[in-house]
Amino acid sequence: MATVAEIFQTMEYGPAPEADGPARAWLTQHGGRFGHFIGGQFTKVGTTFDVIDPSTAQRLAQVTQGTTKDVDAAVAAARKALPAWKKLSGHARAKHLYALARMVQKHARLFAVVESLDNGKSIRETRDLDIPLVARHFYHHAGWAQLAATEFPGYEGVGVVGQIIPWNFPLLMLGWKIAPALAAGNTVVLKPAEFTPLTALLFAELASQAGLPDGVVNVITGDGRTGAALVEHPKVDKIAFTGSTDVGRIIRRATAGSGKKLSLELGGKSPFIVYEDADLDAAVEGVVDAIWFNQGQVCCAGSRLLVQEGIAERMIAKLKARMERLRVGKPLDKTVDMGAIVAPDQLDRIRTLVEKGRDEGAEVWQPSWAVPTQGYFYPPTLCTNVEPASTIAQIEIFGPVLVAMTFRTPEESVALANNTPFGLAASVWSENINLALDIAPKLKAGVVWINATNLFDASAGFGGYRESGFGREGGREGMYEYLKPTPTPGVVPVVPVVPAVAVVPAARSTPPHSGAVDRTAKLYIGGKQARPDATYMRPVYGPKGALVGEVGDGNRKDLRNAVEAAHAAWKGWSKATGHARAQILYYIGENLSARRDEFAARLRAMTGATAKVAGAEVDAAVSRFFTYASWADKYDGAVHNVPIRGVALAMHEPIGVVGVACPDEAPLLGFVSLVAPLIATGNCVVAVPSERWPLAATDLYQVFDTSDVPGGVINIVTGARDPLALVLAEHDDVEGLWYRGSHAGATAVERASAANMKRTWARWTPSDWARPEAEGREFLREAVQVKNIWIPYGE
């Protein structure tokens, strides 16, 4: 051991270990073996697997592999606890959440040490980031529980929620999942990752001691099979998942058509963009926080460094100097920057990908010092000479590996940043507020940090665009993921009757020739009436089987064209001001109103409705256009109260190009109810109108044409709804899909949507479109995605 006099000369760092005695004592108290935590107690230990300390490769504990029976028991316990928990007042639930926040704080160091042992992340991070953020999440959501009745009137908890969390932030992800779920009145079955189950078990035990009623939080351990059993469990009302995009896809497919609510927080390949006027020393430190935080095992890690060409050389030189000073070592050493990689599989994956990068021509740079050989460690790594075409520029490595590329102009930086299937986060570095605030909205990402990175807070929603998933965690937007509209008591929903059997065409099925000029409904694509690709027509029959007219039988090529047209229009429409969009929506309403009688007559001819009912439907459609014209400049975002000197702007951004499959009931109003909120919020739509009575929609072309609707904002392709909806669901450049139709159709659409993780909103029970609930905030929420832009300030 070095003497004081020797150290005085060398001025080196020495060991500064955090004691692990209390954490080990907790493991020993359980004999190092754990069952599940169900209904307020640990179950008997079953078939176990080992939990490994990744910094030593030694066994820490053994936990039980959850079986289908275990999942049944956990779901049953949650369901049993649900009625009482749901019935509690908001204040009573707030007191429980408050107690959980206090519990986490009281045992903060124990949680921090167990987490570090289990995951391999540094004690600095668990102590200063993970655990304080968990406590913060429970405090924040204690507030939402208290306020739930007044802030979310007409909403209630979804029910029993299955939550599956990853190994990179075990307790933090538990907090992000459990806090909003409980605040909203749900009960929970949570499955922690197989690599890192310990803090979840500790949490469950201590939560129970803190007075949380039995069964409100249940923890089952196990691998993917246990997770699959939870996902597929018929008594689970919602699945919340954080993890890889691949598993997210499996879950999306598995829950398709089940009616389970779903939120997915998936992978990323987030850009870290440095402009020539940035504070480069600050940006270098930002990179450290972006990619060498938690060994780079962070879904929102800034893993793609994009540097403006003129400063790239300086930036890279500064970065290498900084990397040389990073320290990797024992996670419980208070003087390391990075700990261990979670598991050998993950370490192998990182090594393999870096080697692939090298093979593809990347220059791989690592500091001169070596990482420990015992345990699973990987050094901070910088790859230059990387192009967007390189594998390592596209694939999420989930390790401490940064790839660097250059750009010439702000426009090119945006193009490169968005050149990825993911869209979780982005970091923008510039001292020019005009530039930074111009770039942030252009980035396809759920979170944008300006001159900062990896900032998190319970009050600001976190979640992705594109294949990084959907749903938000944190803030008001996160609460909605755990709420559903409360059915109005005592009111039986008026479900319009749509004859289930196709009408048999009358013997003479040609309309009586009136001598008028022939009028043929075509498709409506890019603001023009277009003949269907395959020139087949579909007959439209009246209630008694009389042929009312014909519409084009659209096919996949027509949809392809419509999607292209919608994208072309979206560039302008998404940037149009709310006021401009409002003007157009009002104008549509005005022009539709002027043709009220014509539309009513058309509805009567198709559906056989009375004059009064048909007229009322047209009136309601006019009103609906007015509603969304009203909303167009009012559906504001929010400024979140995050704990920095700065603001987090929660912006409502359109999803993009959204497919709409319309219901048969209310053929005009149903169409308008779905299309209007989407275009009001800046989306462009490709709509498949009522399959059976499409003429109400095709008649709208002329209304749109005379109302200054830019070509391509609304596209209409008539035809067989479910096959067309499926084409839209499978289209990788369609970013959202609203479906109203059959259960089979909804299932197919939800399943197919997994390919590009488009957001779907599918219903298969007919709606009463005349009711007030058929418009408003729920529709608007589904029509936008929230982007949180963090803007620290101060000079």
């Binding site: 020797e6 760092y13 500064a16 600095r124 504070d279 003087t335 700065g646």
Partner: protein, 319 residues
């Protein structure tokens, strides 16, 4: 080691660089806040680092009521900063631990020079109308010369803050260059009075200009401003020292001063130096603390390390 270092010869005023330099305050604060949480030293390492901190100290008294008596007391402490029993218990007698310098007003320079005798401990004089620096320019230059003549080997000058606040970088450059010329062989420490410069960007720019004008050290504060040394100020100044070195090859020293009272604080600064500039800046020719009460707290912590008991200030000879 201090003899091997070429002295900063200065550089032409590079206004392009000065004006292009911007500091992001929030990011600087985040980095400064995490240096003490990313690194720590414990046990033997902490003791050794605290001993090093003693050798990096400009033991200072800058009060209106300074007399020959209290300055002599200070100098005795400078030569003998640690109780013998502690020196022996730590096994560091061979290191001959003394403070880095004694820092006083001009009037007390002769007293300090005499009291420090052959110890080799230099005397630093605050100068140029310290602390506000608003006396006539000729007098400020003359003050430097008189202090040097009286035996001061280091001169802590103050800059004219208005040059920074009005963006008159050339005036600042010329002022510091004139002070440097007046110093002759004595080393010049340029006090920026960071607490009065309004922004971190100003602190960075003033740092660059002072170095271009030939400052041997840049120093945060007089100790008399509302805000004195802070880790964000230190971070920004160190980054500019790095930038200047990259451009000119010269190594410039850094001295935080004012408000550094605890052993823990002194370790935080040493961590910052090691992390941002490297071990070379843990030597007295490139790093000093300006402090008066810091030494006593370090003595207490060292005694705690040796005995395992919490220590009392009155058991250590006062400076």
């Amino acid at each position: 080691m201090s003899h091997t270092l070429p002295r900063n010869a200065g550089a032409p005023l590079d206004l392009d660089l000065v004006l292009a330099t911007r500091v992001n305050k929030s990011a600087a604060e985040r980095r400064a806040a995490t240096i003490p949480t990313r690194r720590t030293v414990k046990k033997e390492w902490q003791a050794a680092w605290l001993l090093r901190a003693i050798t990096l100290m400009d033991l200072t008294t800058l009060s209106g009521d300074d007399t020959a008596g209290n300055v002599k007391r200070l100098c005795a402490k400078a030569r003998h900063p640690l109780r013998d029993d502690l020196v022996d218990a730590l096994g560091v007698r061979s290191l001959g631990i003394t403070v880095g310098a004694v820092c006083v007003y001009h009037q007390l320079v002769p007293v300090a020079v005499e009291a420090l005798g052959e110890s080799g401990i230099p005397v630093a004089a605050v100068s140029t109308g310290f602390p506000a620096g608003l006396s006539p320019f000729a007098q400020r230059v003359a003050e430097i010369k008189e202090s040097v003549a009286a035996g001061a080997r280091e001169i802590d000058i103050v800059i004219t803050r208005s040059h920074v606040l009005t963006g008159d970088w050339r005036a600042l450059y010329e002022e510091v260059a004139a002070f440097r010329a007046a110093c002759g062989e004595a080393h010049l420490k340029a006090i920026l009075a960071t607490g009065e410069l309004a922004t971190l960007t100003n602190v960075a720019r003033a740092s660059l200009v002072a170095m271009m004008a030939g400052a041997d050290f840049i120093k945060t504060s007089t100790g008399k401003e509302g805000t004195n040394a802070t880790l964000p100020f230190a971070l920004v100044m160190c980054r500019m020292i790095r930038e200047y070195q990259a451009r000119t090859g010269f190594l410039v020293g850094f001295k935080p001063a004012g408000g550094i009272r605890t052993a823990k604080q002194s370790l935080d600064y040493l961590l910052l130096m090691k992390e941002e500039l490297g071990d070379r800046w843990l030597q007295p020719d490139l790093f000093r603390f300006g402090a008066s009460s810091l030494l006593t707290d370090i003595e207490r912590q060292l005694e705690m390390f040796v005995t395992g008991r919490y220590a009392a200030a009155h058991r250590h000879p006062m400076p």
